[in-house]
């Protein structure tokens, strides 16, 4: 073989082997999964901030208008599927009483409750059901002047239950969700109230 031809073949051989060496380096690690592992979602103490609408149903439905509701929950995941939480929320409403001076007044409902939440997770999505009880405060005695409560009643026991759907983000701490809650106020002469809220949750 001529020397020139030999050098040419040797050079081509090196060129062919160079990428083979780099390819060997690339396959030494497993590719990272683009999907989070639900088992690695944070679990334990969490906080939620919610905003939505609260609507009275029953006798108060026509006179206590729908109002904005904001609230927070602080909870603890006892297990993956069960959590205990405390919930405080406030809503504001405008009244409409036909031909009565109580019309056009603004009043607020504040409530605090302790709740048990059961959750079933399907990868990044979770469905939940909750129930609890607590105390609700009414900002004025206005409803007592209309017969919706006894005179001067400004607090009442409240029982509530609801359903929710939660979507976990790529972060192991953050999730978002929607919740619908029905509340029954013991001393308010109406069927109850429905709250529909959107929330963001951060698990520490």
């Amino acid at each position: 073989v001529r020397p020139l031809l030999r050098r040419t073949l040797t050079t081509l051989g090196f060129l062919l082997l160079m990428p083979a060496g780099e390819a060997l380096a690339q396959i030494t690690n497993e590719p990272v999964s683009p999907y989070p592992d639900p088992d690695k979602f944070a679990r334990g103490i969490y906080g939620e901030a919610e905003v939505g609408t609260l609507l009275f149903v029953g006798d108060a439905g026509s006179s206590v208008g729908p109002g904005a509701v904001v609230g927070v929950r602080l909870g603890y995941d006892v297990f993956r599927w069960v959590a205990l939480q405390v919930h405080v929320a406030g809503s504001t409403h405008t009244t409409t009483f036909r031909d009565m001076p109580q019309s056009g007044q603004i009043l607020q409902f504040y409530q605090g409750s302790a709740e048990l939440k059961l959750t079933m997770r399907f990868n990044r999505v979770a469905a939940s059901a909750m129930g609890g009880a607590g105390l609700a405060l009414i900002s004025s005695n206005l409803l007592g002047t209309t017969g919706l409560t006894e005179p001067d009643v400004q607090n009442t026991l409240v029982y509530l239950g609801g359903l929710g759907a939660d979507y976990h983000t790529m972060s192991r701490h953050f999730s978002f969700g929607l919740a619908a809650t029905f509340a029954k106020y013991q001393r308010l002469r109406t069927t109850g109230a429905i709250a529909a809220t959107a929330y963001v949750r951060y698990t520490f």
Partner: protein
């Protein structure tokens, strides 16, 4: 790192509670004998209802402080002050007649020093009147007359600033010898005539007794609410209203005219 994140928890929990506190929520009072009606049988064209607001008595220390403060001011400091108690009246007038008619609402009342009893003033003025002169006694506040169609209702508000003006007028004529016609006709912010004797450091007393009168042509009904915002939280609930602060204000009598 986890502890670092948890430090936000307490303020997060406290935020909604802050919304529930210290927002000076109102308390509502309805007429003790129910709605007022005029023009029924011998009821006449006026009907009045009195609402007494149940404030608590001052504690001993508060009484001592009031005494000290009164001595420093040179006049009595009221226990119930206008700048601590905001009053307004919401009302609905309903025409129960089959004819349209005009109606208006008068406000009178009492603070802890002076009781402005328009009926007593009118009776005294009529007794003193000569030649059957028509006697007109102005209320502390009056709404503009409105025409109400049969079966219809008209809503109105006597605002907190209206009541504040009525409270200033009551104090001016009760304690500071103001001429009633001057202060009751004029809004003090526009024309302070009649308030010359009121000291600049005056502490205006709030009304604790509100007298609401419906003046109407025909058979009409007045539903009303007295709305009170009490920033010092001295209002009692109905259960404890029996032990409420019960001052005995002097009935206002205008000074006798000077002899010619």
């Amino acid at each position: 790192m986890r502890r670092h994140r948890l430090r936000w928890l307490p303020p997060l929990a406290v935020l909604p509670l802050l919304g529930a506190c210290g927002v000076n929520n109102p308390t509502y009072f309805t007429p003790p004998m129910g709605p007022l009606e005029t023009g029924q049988g011998d009821a006449g064209a006026e009907s009045t209802s009195v609402v007494v607001l149940p404030f608590r008595e001052p504690f001993d220390k508060e009484r001592e402080r009031l005494e000290e403060s009164s001595n420093a001011l040179g006049f009595r400091e009221p226990w119930l002050r206008r700048d601590h108690v905001a009053i307004s009246v919401q009302y609905t007038i309903t025409n129960l007649d089959d004819q349209p008619g005009k109606a208006q609402v008068f406000i009178d009342g009492a603070n802890e020093f002076t009781n402005y009893d328009r009926a007593a003033l009118a009776a005294a003025a009529e007794a003193a009147a000569m030649n059957n002169d028509e006697v007109v006694v102005l209320p502390l506040f009056q709404t503009i007359p409105v025409e109400v169609q049969p079966g219809q209702s008209v809503r109105g508000d006597i605002r907190e600033d209206d009541m504040a003006e009525a409270e200033l007028d009551l104090d001016a004529i009760g304690r500071w010898m103001a001429e009633p016609a001057q202060v009751l006709i004029n809004a003090s912010e526009v024309n302070p005539i009649g308030l010359e004797r009121v000291p600049p450091n005056n502490l205006v007393p709030a009304m604790f007794q509100i007298s609401v009168t419906l003046v109407a042509q025909g058979h009409m009904r007045l539903d009303f609410l007295v709305r009170v915002r009490d920033s010092r939280e001295r209002l009692l609930d109905l259960e404890h209203a029996g032990g409420a602060y019960a001052p005995r204000p002097m009935g206002y009598m205008p000074p006798a005219p000077m002899a010619p």
